[in-house]
């Protein structure tokens, strides 16, 4: 007889009740949570787009209003063109950089990585403010310098134009293309290129005919994502586009929310944004699913760096230029302005002051509150998103329930819903009676959690997949229950990647603007919203100082993440 302390033989007759494991209740709770967070807002938005204000009677009047004016239609066209142009510029910026870092002996690869990371971390609206200081038609640094050098009275560049706006957006979107293309290039073995070389193709022919076609799906994938991000972007079009009288969908939606709020019309007007996003994401999925055209050819084969000779300095020059335009110069002028009495007076000691920071931190009635709001909204929503995503991913990956995939689908659904659309949905569903959550912290936290659920879900799923189910089974057969096994074995193994997921959600939530702007109340403004409000007042020194505070907080979190999770936790392609 064994001396096992667990009495295998004397177990009471097990009953059917075991079927009703806690996991069943959990499943029901998760479905409920996902319905509240994901399904209800979107459905509500679609429903009210067909309802008359106040009465709720069925009508198509909202659609007639939303698409009945040339100005509204032009905004739609502008959005599509802006998306395409920004995405195209991003591809032009990023593809040479990705190729250089992945395949060649270009110097300064670490520097290039840092540039990409910095451009990715910097909130796009901050970049837009920086570029107003750089390329404003009258007093922008570039134009002032140009006039001083040439003696003309013309301006060299003007940020308040359609191309100017697209360019500024691209400068903060290109990291997506870079990450996509670089990870595709990393998977191509040198033998593919060698095969072309042996047949007589030189470096350039090989790149054009072999390497680029292999990463084509990744380039297109990046293009589509940036296109979608741009048409859903609020900050830059509002900061640059409104003064320039360029109306796009997101700024038009914002105008529908000005008094009197016309949510029904806004909902009708947001539908194309939703449809375009759902459609393009499906196209992208189909495209990447076509086997044989996908660049992932496995890690087999050796990878060698292509020797570029003097050309490597040309490529490095390109990366340096991008670094200057995307990160270096905007940061420099923002920093100058934040410490300046008047930013136009330039770099001099008598222009130096700490007043702007002092004012924000100690005198401004809203700024400290906004900092606190941002930290706690982001923290709370990251926690909700990660916990929810973890539970869903666990059930889906381990196939604990029959209809687990429904949960996974709901958790990923916000990925195809633009943040601004999500915000209108949350407004429609929860802002008014019976819940009357408008302006409350809860509404913003839930909206953030919902919006970034896919990020948390993707990282949780990857993390759980990496833990072999036998790890838990080994604990169970030795006598630990399911929960004990999760606590003792699974949780410690997931810790690092979960922390990574939490930090990424925290960071993107802390700079979120397009959803927040529709949901905040007077006391629940976040830093991003307050920054936008300050921009409207036109005091760029104070705006820059507040941007500086935002950047310091973000950098601190990124730094903690790098220390605890690993150097490229932000840029992993998931």
């Amino acid at each position: 007889m064994s001396d096992a302390a667990l009495p295998a033989a004397q177990v009471v007759r097990p009953s059917r009740l075991r079927r009703l494991e806690p996991v069943t209740f959990l499943w029901i709770a998760l479905i409920a949570a996902l319905l509240v967070l994901v399904a209800a807002p979107i459905l509500k938005m679609v429903v009210i787009s067909f309802e008359e204000q106040d009465t709720g009677v069925f009508t198509i009047q909202n659609y007639l209003t939303a698409y009945g004016r040339a100005r509204y239609l032009e905004a739609l066209r502008n959005s599509l063109m802006l998306g395409a142009l920004s995405a195209a510029i991003s591809v032009v910026i990023a593809v040479p950089m990705a190729w250089a870092v992945s395949r060649t002996d270009m110097p300064g690869k670490g520097f290039t990585w840092a540039t990409v990371l910095a451009a990715f971390i910097m909130p796009p609206y901050l970049g837009a403010i920086g570029w107003i200081l750089l390329a404003g038609p009258n007093s922008g640094w570039f134009n002032v310098t140009w006039r001083a050098l040439t003696g003309t009275t013309d301006s060299l560049v003007n940020v308040y134009t359609f191309t100017g706006m697209a360019f500024v957006i691209a400068l903060h979107s290109f990291p997506l293309v870079f990450i996509f293309v670089k990870s595709a290039l990393d998977l191509i073995s040198s033998e593919m290129e060698d095969a072309a070389n042996v047949l007589g193709g030189g470096t350039w022919v090989t790149m054009r005919r072999v390497t680029l076609p292999l990463v084509w799906p990744s380039i297109l994938g990046g293009f589509i994502l940036i296109f979608l991000e741009t048409i859903a972007l609020f900050g830059t079009p509002a900061i640059i586009g409104i003064p320039a009288r360029i109306n796009v969908v997101t700024t038009q939606l914002w105008q529908f929310f000005e008094d009197p709020v016309r949510v029904e019309v806004a909902a009708a007007y947001a539908i194309p944004l939703l449809l375009v996003t759902v459609g393009l994401i499906s196209v992208q999925k189909l495209m990447l699913a076509r086997k044989g055209f996908v660049s992932q050819t496995g890690k087999g084969g050796e990878r060698r760096q292509i020797r570029l000779g003097p050309w490597r300095w040309a490529l490095f020059g390109w990366c340096l230029l991008v670094a200057l335009l995307a990160v270096g110069s905007p940061l420099l002028v923002l920093l100058q302005a934040s410490f300046a009495k008047a930013w136009g007076r330039g770099f001099s000691f008598d222009n130096l002051t700490f007043r702007n920071y002092e004012f924000l931190l100690f005198e401004h009635d809203m700024a400290p509150q906004a900092v606190w709001n941002t930290v706690w909204f982001s923290g709370a929503s990251a926690t909700i998103a990660v916990v929810l995503a973890l539970l869903v991913a666990y059930i889906v990956v381990r196939r604990l329930m029959r209809f687990a995939d429904v949960l996974g689908f709901l958790a990923m659904a916000p990925f195809v819903i633009p943040g601004i659309v999500m915000a209108i949905g949350f407004y429609a569903a929860y802002a008014g009676p019976p819940l009357s959550l408008y302006g409350s912290a809860l509404l913003i936290i839930l909206a953030f959690a919902s919006r970034f659920l896919p990020i948390a879900y993707a990282s949780s799923q990857a993390a759980i997949r990496a833990v072999h189910p036998e790890m838990e089974e080994a604990a169970r057969i030795l006598g630990s229950g399911r929960l004990h096994a999760i606590r003792k074995v699974t949780a410690p193994l997931l810790k690092t990647s979960l922390l990574g997921g939490w930090l990424v959600v925290f960071i993107v939530a802390s700079r979120e603007l397009s959803a927040a702007i529709f949901l905040v109340g007077p006391r629940t403004r976040t830093m991003s919203v307050l920054l936008y409000d300050l921009t409207e007042q036109g005091n760029f020194e104070v705006v820059s100082a507040f941007g500086g505070i935002l950047l310091v907080i973000t950098l601190a979190i990124v730094g903690i993440g790098m220390k605890l999770v690993g150097r490229d936790f932000m840029l992993r392609r998931e």
């Binding site: 075991r18 072999h468 790890m471 030795l478």
Partner: protein
Amino acid sequence: MPRLTLSGLTKAYGKLTVVDSVDLTLEEGEFVSLLGPSGCGKTTTLRMIAGFIDPTGGSISVDGAVLSAPGAVVPPERRGMSMIFQSYAIWPNMTVAENVAFGLKLRKLTREEVTRRVGEMLEVVKLDHLAHRYPAELSGGQQQRVALARAIVVKPAVLLLDEPLSNLDANLREEMRFEIRRLHDEFRITTVYVTHDQAEAMATSDRIAVMNAGRIEQVDAPHLLYTRPRTRFVAGFVGRTNLLEAQVSSGMLRVDGIALGPSAQPDGPVLVSLRPQAMTIHEAQPPLPGPVFEASIAERTYLGESWDYVVQPQGSSLRLRAAAAPLEAHEVGRRVWLAIDPRQVSVVQ
């Protein structure tokens, strides 16, 4: 009372039956292998014994108590078993000693007792010097030993092994085979071992249950399985063989007119398995009892440990594989005498 009993054990996923009324009994201290090709249901059977999969029919009992029956399954943690997994499933966040101590702590032993038994166990598997290392710092063979130690230290009622050697390289696999058998001889834990490698099953097991398409084809001691296969599948899967269409007429078994000896089978066509080792090749007619006939060498291949001959009996289109020792070299085309050991002729279904 047998330690472990599977009776009519069945698992079906919809219309697909992966384990089909399996009956198997293990006495206390017995080591039985489930051997079969991939997809034969052996791992599903093992995981049902462990309690990870619920059966759709039949039952599993340990010491007479039913642990699994349709709709009534004792969870894995209350079965008093342990298991070794294909991936080892060594927890990377715990040291070797912590891994081994895990099951003991759950059994509420005193700290001294846990430390003592972990120490003893690690000594047995020769890992005492690595007790405080983390798994990532160990080789594959060492990780395997940790898995063994962790499973055995709790002295389980039944030990389950799921293809534990499939991730090791060939040399290490052979070494671990003997290690597993040595540990079994030392602790006499009732063991079910799943493998698709017949050499592994032969080296470790008291008995082997050959599985095919969800059913057990034959359960026997390794040497009997080899010399007396009962079904066509077992004859073909375990070792190499000559499968011959034979005839029984008036109590005599014949293949293509050659008499192989008396048979108790009723008259009619039967299938016969004749192992290459059941035949010997002679240059001159041997004075042996039993069937001897003239033949010629059709092909030969030297395999190092033996010759592999293809021999053609005279006046027959049969081609028989016969094995011979390295020094027994016969040229192709040579006339020889072929002698058959009648004890190794098996009629199979």
